[in-house]
């Protein structure tokens, strides 16, 4: 199968970040890392490609920088990457992002598109659904397990109570949750091979997409600090109070 995996480079979550005071956009350093949630998508893509003797292409939109995060995914084993880095897309909303990614995916050709459920820096969580709609293919979302059954793809969709069994014939879009598969660590050989894998850097215009940022961030406010927890002094009956609290929280 021809697998296309949507990936994103984000600032290293372990490093402090800053917002641009005028635009409120995240200031992105030259060296970004592969979004941790995307590693599950890449691993799922590699697994499917290995089972079907297929290929894995990455598509990514955002400032290319040093391409460090893209190379991480290539070092895991993906075959090539398309990176759409276009200053006109700065601050693009999710629909604009989906349009651009859809154009890149269509140009690559695909049987399956895989994405994480949401990016760690943006968290809109709607881009894969929009891609499925724009591609006019079924969406198999929130997969905690993916199986190829003959010519169909069957997933277990994570729900609050368990999972739904959902299946569709390719072409389709799958979103995977963390834990769907255990991502492999890139090997040294993989890292060296990634150096020479093709990374195609294009603008939105080259993909035939004319789109502009459809949103403006008006203000960013700090989330309210969490209230201090309740300290229970044990005078012999603390366990009763703890049980009561757990019952109130409907944990037990």
């Amino acid at each position: 199968m021809r697998v296309v995996v949507c990936v994103k480079q984000i600032p290293d979550p372990a490093s402090p970040f800053e917002l641009d005071p005028d635009t409120h956009f995240l200031q992105r350093p030259e060296d970004q890392v592969l979004d941790d949630t995307d590693r599950y998508g890449v691993e799922m893509g590699l697994t499917i490609a290995e089972q079907t003797e297929g290929s894995v292409a990455l598509v990514s939109m955002g400032p290319a920088g040093s391409l460090q995060g893209i190379r991480q995914a290539l070092a895991m084993g993906a075959d090539r990457a398309v990176v759409i880095d276009d200053p006109n897309l700065r601050g693009a909303d999710s629909l604009a992002t989906a349009r651009v990614l859809t154009a890149a995916i269509s140009r690559e050709g695909f049987d399956v598109v895989i994405a994480g459920t949401e990016s760690t820096d943006g968290y809109s969580g709607v881009v894969p659904q929009q891609i499925a709609e724009l591609l006019n293919v079924p969406l198999l979302s929130f997969a905690k397990k993916v199986d190829l059954e003959g010519d169909r793809i069957r997933i277990e969709r994570q729900t609050d109570y368990g999972f739904d069994l959902v299946e569709a014939a390719p072409p389709a879009v799958i979103t995977v949750t963390s834990g769907v598969v255990e991502p492999r660590y890139p090997t040294f050989k993989g890292i060296m091979a990634a150096k020479s894998k093709p990374i195609d850097q294009v603008s939105a215009g080259e993909l035939g997409v004319t789109t502009a940022a459809g949103q403006e961030i008006v203000a960013v406010r700090a989330a309210p600090e969490r209230a201090a927890g309740e300290v229970i002094e044990d005078e012999g009956d603390a366990h009763l109070r703890i049980v009561q609290l757990l019952e109130q929280a409907k944990v037990i």
Partner: protein, 379 residues
């Protein structure tokens, strides 16, 4: 002059750091406490290609340079020395002699499993009566028809008794003033692996004494040239010294990281202990030692990678780095106080583990001898 690591070296360092934090750090305390050799983790290191880093692809290796191996060893040692020495010995003392001195048949037979981490090999040089004085080897091997018959014993042999140990290369007297190296497969008749030592540290590393009683192995198990066993092993030890230095750099770095964090968080007399010069300067000295050790170590690795003479550089790196590591663990425990003496903090484990770095693969004293001779002194 350029000390900038390549982007690939940096990317690899990040992978190993991540691996060490996810696959080793959460379990290191338990392995230490229960003296567990972590087979599953060794297998994962094998999957990651670590045991084959410096070997050519034809044997399943990665064809990486020695610097890359040192990066892996350093990052593992930053979390746990036992797992780092398992890799260091597995590559440097286990597979390397076979690769350096083996015949094509020997390489084909043993290397693929060693390189993939499916098997480990030991390096039997040291004896109870022949440590620094390796030439005093008492183990004997005599040629009987088409077999070597080996009698004697070896001491402190790393990776020699794991469930996946496939062989031990041993040095033995094969004639007057003649020491040769012979491959002894695990389970050979007359080859006994003694119970594991009770050690001060490196509890998750596998170390045994070995006994050979009329142990018979095929004549073709001679490794390299007859009579060159000692010289071969001294060559192997030059590589090993750089890798041991890399362990030391990792340990010292861990002590610096932990000490700086603890000195900032721990308060006494109403302020962080790190606001006292007595504590802050310990951390400052530690960073000087870490950086100096790292430079010596990676310069020695670089010389080796450039195929330039590195014997002196390796001795300098091992001597300085291991003494720096032992010093760093001592000061880290001091900064942690009582919390550093109990086994609830990693610094306690680092302290117990570090001492042997000044002993294994060339004691500090032997290294000073090597260095003095390298300077040209009549010693």
């Amino acid at each position: 002059m350029d000390f900038e690591p390549s982007p690939e070296h940096e990317a690899f360092r990040r992978v190993i750091r991540e691996f060490a934090l996810a696959e080793v750090a959460p379990y290191a305390e338990e392995w230490d406490r229960t003296h567990t050799f972590p087979l599953e983790t060794v297998a994962k290191m094998g999957d990651l290609g670590l045991f084959g880093l410096p070997f050519p692809e034809e044997y399943g290796g990665s064809g990486a340079d020695f610097t890359t191996l040192c990066i892996a060893i350093e990052e593992l040692a930053r979390v746990d020395q036992s797992i780092a020495i398992t890799l260091e010995a597995g590559v440097g003392l286990g597979a390397n002699p076979i690769y350096q001195f083996g015949t094509d048949e020997q390489r084909q037979r043993w290397l693929p499993d060693l390189v993939s981490g499916r098997a480990l090999a030991g390096f039997g040089l040291t004896e109870a009566g022949a440590g620094s004085d390796a030439a005093a080897t008492g183990t004997k091997a005599t040629l009987d028809g088409d077999s070597w018959v080996i009698n004697g014993s070896k001491a402190f042999i790393t990776n020699s008794g794991t469930p996946i140990t496939s062989l031990v290369t041993v040095t033995a007297r094969t004639g007057p003033d003649e020491i040769s190296a012979i491959i002894v497969p695990a389970g050979a008749d007359g080859f006994t692996v003694e119970p594991a030592y009770r050690k001060m540290g490196w509890h998750a590393s596998d170390t045994h004494g070995l006994v050979f009683q009329d142990c018979r192995v095929p004549a073709e198990n001679l490794l390299g040239e007859r009579g060159k066993g000692l010289r071969q092993f001294l060559t192997i030890l030059d590589d090993g010294r750089i890798a041991m230095a890399a362990i030391a750099v990792g340990v010292a770095q861990a002590c610096l990281d932990d000490s700086a964090t603890y000195a900032s968080e721990r308060s006494a007399f109403g302020r962080p202990i790190g606001s006292n010069q007595a504590i802050a300067f310990k951390c400052a000295d530690m960073q000087v030692a870490v950086e100096a050790a790292r430079l010596l170590t990676y310069r020695a690795a670089w010389l080796k990678d450039q195929n330039r003479p590195f014997k002196q550089a390796a001795a300098l790196a091992k001597l300085y780095s291991t003494e720096a590591a032992v010093g760093a663990t001592r000061e880290a425990v001091q900064i942690f106080g009582g919390a550093g003496f109990v086994d609830e903090t990693p610094v306690s484990r680092h302290y117990r583990d570090a001492k042997v770095l000044e002993i294994g693969e060339g004691t500090s004293e032997i290294l000073r001898l090597v260095i003095s001779r390298g300077i040209g002194l009549p010693i």
